[in-house]
């Protein structure tokens, strides 16, 4: 999906902050330590994931071997 423009993102955050300020006394007494960020979900398409057959696993990224396989040219 396409990310919202920055102004619109800021508007959502401002509205949230206003709500937080108006209701501070109805929130937990430590709410001043909360941190937050606006998240726009980007669903990873199934085919983007790496499948490990017999592990029944689907990973965002697979893993490299831990050492050079061969020493065939100079790095």
């Amino acid at each position: 999906m396409i990310r919202r423009p920055e102004t619109e993102r800021q508007k959502i955050i401002d509205e949230f902050l206003d709500w937080l300020d108006a209701h501070r006394h109805n929130l937990p007494v430590n709410a001043s330590t909360w941190t937050f960020q606006l998240v726009e979900k980007r669903t990873v398409a199934e085919q983007e994931l790496v499948t490990l057959g017999k592990y029944n696993a689907q990973k965002a990224r697979s893993i490299p071997f831990y050492k050079p396989y061969t020493k065939i040219f100079k790095f």
Binding site: G53, R61, S62, F65, P68, Y69, T70, K71, K74
Partner: protein, 355 residues
């Protein structure tokens, strides 16, 4: 404070001329003078009171400065006598659950016709999840994509591919397409390219595309030892303590289809058309090099890089001696100098023997 203690994943490796501290957590190597290295008890703890007693004047202040650098680099910390026993040395067992850890397949023609689902199942039985495909001839796009599709849903975790650089493939953006589409490619190396450069840097050592100007058209190009090939991590370190750092748990099929420990070696343990990988692996002699550690190899045993380095038993300085130094290593641990191995006068006889 009583001691300067090295963090247990920062290991001291002493060589003939100097030592290194290998930071196995962060992957860095720090050379240290032998004088300092020798002060560590059990290669880990430096008794600060003893240091002040034994070393005088300028040497003492120089050493104290070095010690401060070790602390600032987060390689060591100060601790007292009680704390020291709370920080045990790193457990040195090699923890890698595989009968075969990696497999190398060579092709002169650009074809690997035995690479089928049942071949992948054979690898699966050996718990082999890491592959390298080395093409010395250009594979047809359909053929390589067929192989990559087989790998896609298999247990294989990653594959490194070496192919000859081809202008038509480049123009059709084939290499970048492979990297984008087949997420199990750890690196794709195109040799014989017009220039040497990283095309796609990848993320965390996956999806890396490199062009190199070098000509890598036979397995005889293998066996190079240099600093770019060091790997500074716990798995490599612990493996090197107990096993050969190149040949352990390796299986290969050479350009003729012979199943070998390494494609550059002469011993064959059967042909892929009539022998399974497990059969070859269990034949006497297949694993004969697996237990030759760096501590048994001439010159390497005196090298401060021996536990982060690879090895080679296919090309040796003295072809008659199984524990001889790798031919293609230009480092001299007695002087601390790197030289071009192929120019070295001592190596000319062996070069004539192999090539």
């Amino acid at each position: 404070m009583d001691y300067l203690l090295l963090y247990s994943n920062c290991v001291l490796v002493k060589g003939a001329n100097r030592a290194t501290i290998c930071d196995l957590q962060k992957g860095d190597i720090y050379p240290v003078p032998k004088l300092l290295a020798d002060l560590f008890q059990e290669d880990r703890a430096l008794d600060l009171a003893l240091l002040k007693e034994q070393v005088q004047d300028e040497t003492a202040s120089w050493l104290l400065q070095l010690i401060d650098t070790l602390v600032a680099s987060q390689l060591a910390f100060y601790c007292n006598r009680q704390e020291r026993k709370r920080f045990p040395a790193l457990h040195t067992e090699w923890l890698f659950p595989a009968h075969v850890s990696h497999c190398i397949l060579d092709s002169a023609t650009g074809r690997l016709d035995y690479f089928t689902e049942s071949f992948i199942a054979q690898l699966g039985k050996l718990c082999c999840n890491f592959l390298q495909l080395r093409f010395f001839g250009t594979p047809a796009i359909t053929h390589l994509e067929h192989i990559l599709r087989l790998i896609k849903d298999a247990q294989i975790k990653s594959v490194e591919i070496l192919v000859p650089w081809n202008a038509a493939y480049e123009n059709a953006h084939t290499y970048a397409k492979w990297i984008n589409e087949y997420k199990k490619i750890s690196s794709l190396i195109c040799w014989g390219a017009p220039s040497t450069h990283v095309v796609i840097p990848g993320v965390e050592a996956m999806g890396y595309l490199l062009y190199t100007g070098e000509q890598i058209n036979t397995a005889t190009h293998c066996g190079i030892i240099n600093q770019g090939l060091f790997s500074t991590n716990i798995t490599t370190y612990t493996e090197s303590l107990h096993f050969n750092s190149c040949l352990n748990r390796k299986i290969s099929i050479d350009v003729q289809g012979n199943i070998k420990n390494c494609p550059s070696m002469t011993d064959s343990f059967g042909h892929i058309t009539d022998t399974s990988l497990s059969e070859a692996l269990n034949k006497p002699g297949f694993k004969r090099y697996w237990h030759i550690t760096k501590d048994q190899i001439a010159v390497c045993k005196d090298c401060e890089f021996r536990h982060v380095c690879t090895d080679c038993r296919a090309y040796l300085e003295d072809p008659e001696d199984a524990c001889s130094k790798p031919l293609k290593c230009g480092y001299d641990p007695y002087t601390g100098e790197w030289e071009e191995w192929s120019q070295h006068p001592m190596k000319q006889k062996a070069i004539a023997y192999y090539f």
